[in-house]
């Protein structure tokens, strides 16, 4: 079935006309035309795996198609460097930090090695996340050669609970950039440089979001033994305690007293992650042989199946205890699904309570809102429609592309 299994090719801007409309695509092209002749560089720390690489894989071809030559480069570093930056990453998210004295030196030395290896001839340089942050030193050399590029730091991390030691080390680097980009106002740290709002986005044409024929959705639901004649509650996320899969089962058991429904917990990460395997085991024990609970440990290439599971569900749940931005919520909203989600991380930007979904704070609260939606299907449908429109306006990749073009134009205007 082509719609479900067709090979992915680099998307072009015009492919999105059906999703966002001709006026929006035309405006993006108008903005890009104003930047003709300018070049852009994106730098991050990995070419595959992880949300940033996924975004850049889709965004860079669209920038090129809009007429902005864009070079994507990945920094290199040894095992210890990436262990250190992982510790930084976790600390910036608010996790405990027990760093060694030489870690900051290692961070700086690896950034310096990359700086020497890389060329910075572009007009706009976007550095993603903390790993390559030290490359800002390259601007000094470029400035001496008369090149005045704009440098921007794109932070994909929630800094609201950043560990003080790590943040105080990184902050002076950040404040040398021309601007910073954050996924939510709540993730910022009150920087002295301009801070812009750059929501993370989903690609409506990617396998996990593209339209699917109803027959394919039905076939996937049947393949996993899900009865589509009864309500289906689904949470899609890796088996991680922070996603609270056991809490979802507890909420389902409350709902089950009132509605004859089923629960699907679908995710991955259990095979290559010892903690994931332990969590999966806990989830299986919590399910305790209930035939209406389906626990699906899916391989990482199951995007189309996950798409079908979301589309085949009555309600999508995201009952995380902590979250980054939680883009799985936007994926469900895009499919016009009523969503019940925790008010954590970036989820409140996506779910406006009782308008584009239902925000919850506890297991009983989660159960209550699911019951409410099941008892009020017209309201649930309306919430799903509003959710779709909210994503269309804010969380699609075309909006991300447009924001980069606007940023470029605004920075150029500020410099005169």
């Amino acid at each position: 079935m082509e719609a479900a299994t067709g090979a992915t090719r680099a998307q072009r801007l015009d492919d999105y006309v059906t999703e966002v409309g001709q006026p929006e695509v035309a405006e993006i092209r108008e903005l890009a035309a104003r930047l003709r002749g300018s070049r852009l560089k994106m730098v991050n720390s990995t070419a595959v795996g992880g949300g940033v690489a996924e975004i850049l894989n889709r965004l860079v071809p669209l920038l090129e198609d809009a007429g902005i030559p864009t070079k994507w480069e990945v920094i290199t570093g040894g095992e210890e460097f990436f262990a250190v930056t992982k510790a930084f990453h976790n600390a910036l998210h608010g996790a405990p930090y027990e760093g060694r004295p030489h870690w900051f030196d290692l961070f700086l030395a690896t950034n310096e090695e990359n700086r020497k290896r890389m060329q910075f001839d572009e007009d706009l340089v976007v550095i993603h996340d903390p790993q390559p942050m030290g490359l800002i030193h390259a601007r000094d050399g470029a400035a001496r050669e008369g090149k005045a590029a704009h440098w921007v730091w794109r932070c994909h991390i929630d800094l609201s609970h950043a560990h003080r030691d790590v943040w105080e080390f990184l902050r002076p680097f950040v404040e040398r950039y021309d601007a910073s980009l954050f996924s939510s106002p709540a993730f910022t740290q009150g920087l002295s440089i301009p801070q812009f709002l750059f929501f993370p986005t989903i690609d409506p044409l990617a396998d996990k979001n593209k339209p699917l024929p109803p027959e394919y959705v039905e076939e996937v639901m049947q393949r996993f033994g899900i009865d589509t004649s009864r309500p289906v509650l689904t949470q899609i996320s890796r088996f991680d305690r922070l996603k609270d899969p056991v809490g979802v089962i507890q909420a389902y058991r409350i709902v089950k007293k009132y509605h004859d429904c089923q629960l699907v917990l679908a995710g991955g990460g259990a095979t290559d992650d010892p903690e994931g395997a332990a969590v999966l085991q806990e989830v299986k024990e919590a399910a305790a042989g209930d035939p209406d609970i389906r626990i699906l440990d899916l391989p990482p290439w199951s995007h189309t199946e996950i798409n079908a599971l979301q589309r085949g569900s009555t309600i999508v749940i995201q009952k995380s205890l902590r979250e980054g931005f939680g883009l799985t919520v936007s994926e469900a909203l895009w499919k016009r699904k009523p969503v019940v989600a925790s008010a954590v991380g970036g989820i409140p930007s996506q779910v406006i309570h009782k308008l584009t979904g239902m925000l919850v704070h506890s297991v009983p609260g989660c159960a209550y809102q699911i019951r409410f939606l099941l008892s009020n299907p017209d309201f649930a449908r309306q919430v799903g429609e509003y959710g779709h429109e909210h994503v269309k306006e804010n969380f699609l990749i075309t909006a991300n592309l447009k924001r980069y073009l606007l940023l470029f134009l605004i920075l150029r205007r500020q410099r005169g």
Partner: protein, 215 residues
Amino acid sequence: MNRAGQPFEFVAASYLVRIRRERARTLGDLGRFLRTCSDESIFYHTFQSLETHHYSAFSSDFAQWVLAACNEAALAERLATVDVRGVTSLEELRGALAGALEEHIQASPASAERPAFEPFHFCEAAEVTVPLETRAWTLGELAEGIRRLSLHTLSYHLITSRLRLKLQTNDFSHWIQHSLGRPDLAAKVNNVDFYTNTLEGVRDEVADLLAAEAA
């Protein structure tokens, strides 16, 4: 059909949201920042967020936050119903909003320092405009042009333009009055309620109104 002496020139408008450093955690904070924040912030949270919150309970971000994060329904209603057509400057609008808040706090002092469920982050919008080739010389052409506008651009001509025009009118009404000599129709367009309708609804209402006059 009357042809204007000067055409209406459409532009494409886009916005990037800048996150400011002010962050209100209580009603008291909000009151203080309302007095000191940028004019652009006042305008953004009162008018420009209509584009993204056009289906929320209140159109004003301030009112929405006071309701959802502070659970102060009466104050939220008061902030949401400040008569935006009755003020002629952002300073006046700022005074109306801050005044309402200060009166509430005076009457209910305990509410000032009660922590909100989540903070209010002050933002403002940076605007980029690109002239389009589309021009309208008649009411019919204006109606057709409006139907093809993106919501951001509609917002620029109908709502953001109020900032340039002392909050009294909008680009369409201004052109209809001064280039077509139709103050009656200009007033009708200016009276379309963009504050409580969705932008899609407003687009249809304005275009239908103009098309009916052009027929």
